[in-house]
Amino acid sequence: MSNANENGATTLYLVLAWGFVGIPLVWGVLKTLENAMKLFQ
């Protein structure tokens, strides 16, 4: 039971940590792609 709780907490930490850096990065990449598309218009 304790092991299952630990695994759940680790997964939550991983989601939070990767979301913390991933969301702003994806936002920035999408903004850049939006601008880059103008090259092909």
């Binding site: 680790t10 702003p24 850049t32 090259l39």
Partner: protein, 460 residues
């Protein structure tokens, strides 16, 4: 401040090593803002005149020094503080880097508010530059220790963040300046304060998450090779002994030449695309081109470093030098046949290899000199970046100007530069080919010797 001690960052059993890359990204995404600093240049030339530059406003040439000072201090601080970063552990280094970086922004905000340029040189240039240097190397050796099975991929992920930081900083800075600007105010000072606060929070989160593995820890299912491979040592080389080896200087030149070839083009990409295809590539499209190559700069950092885990570091650099040479020779022909698509294709691959050069080098150093001092050795190698930051733009700009002054049409003014870049890559290929395993006499012989080295370092 014992919270920052290396001993306090040793991971407990059950800690997932996949939490370390986001910790590293927290710092690299912040300091990667340096690539986007140019968004402030134009607004800072209108701090007094607001709609257009007033006579007392700062000139672009004066503002250009801010970024240059920061890059010089990046190289210097990475070289000087590398040993301290290695001994103090990643949390202390990330905390210090975050503090320098954020306070640098706040000091720059005061400089903008008081219209004192020297405060910005000191804030963003010196203090921010020190934050850049310490922050850049702070997670490298920790990641290599957590991912002995995939060191290239691990450092590639972090260094990818340095390339990606500009994607966040650029639109965020523009948005913040819009929010803070008024008819009598351009909003740069407030944007610096906001960025300083945001970056402080981000870097502190990274410092809180980061952990070092317990001594002797290995990933589940991973068995280190029993015997050392030809170009992957099982021994460690003391940080200052590494400087005495030909391998260090050969890899220094490998990095310097690879970066020189890319950095000049990166800075001139917008102007080059418009001048090589007059009337076909508009300023808006050129801005899109710059965004696209920045994206490949970031993706290349992850792709090539991960590939190096499969094909080896030396072979990865062979790829950079061979493919790069061919593509640089091809670029003038894309202009001659008027193919924008082929031109873009050449440069996205070239820039991906420029980024790949940065991210593959920590693992190359680890293969040559072991993991013990890889962060500090990497710090000293970054002086190659500072040198390339001078060579690259000078080569591209001066040769272009010389060509134009000699009557060469603008569309063909970059041809000679491209051939020179190809030549530099050939020299890089030769340097890479000369890299051999480090001689036994440079290896640290025992734990006792390691301890003596530590004492000597502490006294120095």
């Amino acid at each position: 401040m014992s919270f920052l001690d290396r001993e306090r960052t040793v991971a407990r059993p059950g800690f997932s090593r996949w939490l370390v890359p986001p910790a590293a990204l927290c710092i690299h995404l912040c300091i990667g803002q340096a690539y986007a600093f140019s968004v402030f240049n134009l607004p800072m030339t209108k701090l007094i005149g607001i709609s257009k530059s007033a006579p007392d406003d700062w000139k672009l040439t004066e503002l250009g020094w801010i970024f240059s000072i920061a890059i010089v201090f990046l190289g210097l601080s990475a070289a000087v503080f590398g040993r301290w970063v290695e001994d103090g552990g990643p949390r202390r280094a990330m905390f210090t880097a975050g503090l320098c970086w954020s306070v640098g922004f706040l000091l720059s905000a005061v400089g903008v508010y008081a219209h004192q340029l020297w405060l910005i040189y000191l804030g963003y240039g010196v203090l921010g530059g020190i934050g850049l240097g310490i922050g850049y190397i702070s997670p490298v050796s920790t990641l290599i220790k957590w991912f002995p099975d995939r060191p290239g991929m691990a450092t590639g992920m972090a260094i990818m963040g340095f390339g990606g930081g500009a994607f966040i900083a650029s639109p965020l800075s523009v948005w913040l300046m819009q929010k803070f600007s008024t008819p009598t105010h351009v909003g740069v000072a407030e944007t610096f304060i906001a960025l300083g606060c945001i970056y402080f929070v981000f870097t502190m989160v990274g410092a809180a998450i980061v952990r070092v593995p317990a001594p002797g820890w290995l990933p589940a299912g991973y068995t280190p090779p029993a015997v050392a491979q030809k170009l992957i040592t099982k021994n460690d080389v003391y940080v200052y002994d590494a400087l005495k080896t030909p391998q260090f200087w050969l890899i220094w030149w490998v990095l310097c030449l690879n970066v020189t070839a890319g950095i000049g083009v990166l800075g001139q990409a917008s102007a080059m695309s418009q001048e090589m295809f007059p009337g076909r590539v508009t300023p808006v499209a050129a801005a899109g081109f710059v965004g696209l190559i920045s994206l490949f700069n970031m993706l290349g950092r992850f792709f090539w470093a991960s590939t190096s885990d499969l094909i080896g570091r030396k072979n990865t650099y062979y790829c950079f030098f061979v493919i790069g040479t061919v593509l640089y020779i091809l670029v003038p022909h894309t202009g001659a046949i008027g193919s924008v698509t082929l031109f873009v294709l050449c440069f996205v691959v070239i820039i991906s290899m420029y980024g790949g050069g940065f991210s593959t080098v920590p693992a190359y150093l680890k293969d040559m000199f072991g993991t013990r001092y890889v962060g500090a050795i990497h710090g000293m190698l970054l002086t190659a970046w500072s040198a390339a930051g001078i060579f690259g733009p000078v080569l591209v700009n001066y040769i272009r100007q010389y060509q134009i002054d000699s009557g060469v049409p603008k569309a063909q003014a970059y041809n000679t530069t491209m051939y020179i870049m190809a030549g530099l890559l050939v020299i890089g290929f030769i340097c890479n080919a000369l890299v051999r395993a480090v001689h036994d006499r440079y290896h640290m012989k025992s734990e006792q010797e390691s301890a003596q080295a530590s004492v000597a370092g502490a006294r120095a």
